[in-house]
């Protein structure tokens, strides 16, 4: 596999995040994980807990950037935002588990995020129950539907390219996509 180009400016990274560019997202993920792992391990957590907290924070960051709730000016404010969400989430876990151990917050570095960039840190997006239902339903779809919907909505590939890959025409691909959406809706509903 070719080495991915380094993204050093805030703007291309924001575009990469908004377009679900796999390389950009992966770079962001891989670069920031060690800091969060260290934070969690130093504060009574395990590697698995670090992974969970980090992934939740990553999804929240991604959603907030997509919805323009967080408009970062530089890459370092993206890193800082991610760290802050993960830190808050880990604090919540510690509080909810009734940890007696005092967390020395001064040992945990903070990152400056200006008010104008941050429209209020919101990490609750994924607590939306309806969204959660759809997410769970997506993983219960058959592979064919999951793959088609993923190509269309996550990879954002054009319909004609997807049709070519599936060796069917564009109209049939559209019909198939609609049927998959219906199925997804049905599964999400039935689980309630």
């Amino acid at each position: 596999m070719q080495e991915k180009p380094t993204i050093s400016m805030g703007q291309p990274l924001i575009t990469a995040i908004k377009q679900n560019d796999s390389l950009g997202l992966k770079q962001l993920y891989v670069t920031n994980y060690p800091k969060i792992e260290l934070l969690v391990l130093k504060n009574s957590g395990t590697k698995d807990q670090a992974k969970d907290v980090y992934q939740e924070a990553f999804l929240a960051l991604w959603q907030n950037i997509k919805q323009d709730k967080f408009i970062p000016k530089t890459e370092s404010s993206i890193n800082g935002y991610l760290y802050t969400i993960a830190k808050n989430k880990w604090m919540d876990v510690l509080r909810s588990q009734g940890f007696k151990k005092t967390i020395v917050t001064s040992q945990i570095p903070n990152y400056e995020i200006s008010e104008e960039e941050n429209n209020g840190i919101d990490d609750d997006i994924l607590k939306n129950q309806r969204l959660q239902d759809v997410m769970q339903a997506f993983n219960k779809l058959g592979e064919a539907c999951r793959s088609l919907l993923r190509m269309f909505y996550f990879e954002k590939r054009p319909m004609n390219i997807i049709a070519e890959e599936l060796s069917i025409d564009s109209a049939s691909t559209r019909n198939k996509k609609y049927r998959c959406m219906q199925k997804l809706k049905q599964i999400a509903l039935n689980e309630n």
Binding site: M1, S22, F154, L189
Partner: protein
């Protein structure tokens, strides 16, 4: 989600285009008016929005697991260079098997079938994975688990896929291989047999070989020989000679 409202295909596509900003100004205006005036239509727009957001979020969540595997794999490879997924592995694995087999010839005695199995069995090294995001995504994700020795995870991923593609020889072969690696012999036999039933399969020779080994592990010499005799792999002859 409100189940009362059925969203037709044309309605769905209109809402989707609206959400993606792909409508001309006049149509956008019409949609906006509809949202304003018609609460049912507004609910439908919200539903489509949630569905699309849910697909995207879950697809990313699944992708994050793959990023994470890669991260862990990298940190492991700094201490050991044991992982390699290039196709040229496969003949090397076969060569290693033959060397071990030559040594095993001298100590065959009691529990001969078990010993033969241990001498000849080495887990199939798997296929190279390309995580570029394609239709093989789910398959590759399970392949990553398989190569890391997480057979239960791999089996669960491939089993999901196998529900839709019962006759896929690649899936059946690696399900069989993963079950064999986790000592679930009956299941291994079931999936390997399925693979061997497909005469055109590129995995047929290997599937017959591993099927033979699985029967050996079960202590069933007759079935082992029957399967092995159909395989053209070079090491098969040696095993049969030792069994006779």
């Amino acid at each position: 989600m409100d189940e009362k409202y059925n969203i037709s295909q044309s309605e769905f596509e209109l809402i989707e285009q609206y959400l993606n900003d792909n409508l001309d100004a006049a149509t956008t205006q019409q949609v906006l008016e509809q949202i304003e005036k018609n609460p049912i239509f507004k609910t439908k727009v919200d539903t489509v929005k949630t569905i699309i957001a849910g697909i995207e979020s879950q697809a990313l969540k699944n992708e994050l697991d793959v990023f994470h595997e890669d991260l862990e794999q990298k940190s492991r490879s700094t201490t050991t260079k044991s992982l390699n997924n290039k196709p040229w592995w496969r003949p090397l694995a076969v060569a290693a098997v033959i060397i071990i087999a030559a040594g095993s010839y001298f100590w065959l005695g009691e529990n001969a079938t078990d010993k033969l199995y241990n001498a000849y069995y080495t887990v199939d090294p798997g296929l190279p994975t390309n995580m570029g995001g394609n239709t093989m995504y789910e398959f590759n994700k399970a392949m990553v688990s398989y190569k890391q020795g997480k057979y239960t995870e791999a089996i669960s991923g491939w089993k999901d896929l196998a529900k839709q593609k019962q006759d896929n020889d690649t899936l059946n072969y690696f399900l069989g291989s993963a079950f064999l690696a986790s000592d679930s012999i009956e299941n291994a036999i079931k999936y390997l047999e399925k693979t061997t039933e497909q005469s055109g399969s590129t995995f047929r020779e290997e599937a017959l070989y591993y099927l033979g080994l699985a029967h050996l592990k079960n202590g069933n010499k007759t079935l082992a020989i029957k399967a092995l005799k159909q395989s053209q792999l070079p090491q098969v002859k040696e095993i049969i000679e030792q069994l006779d």
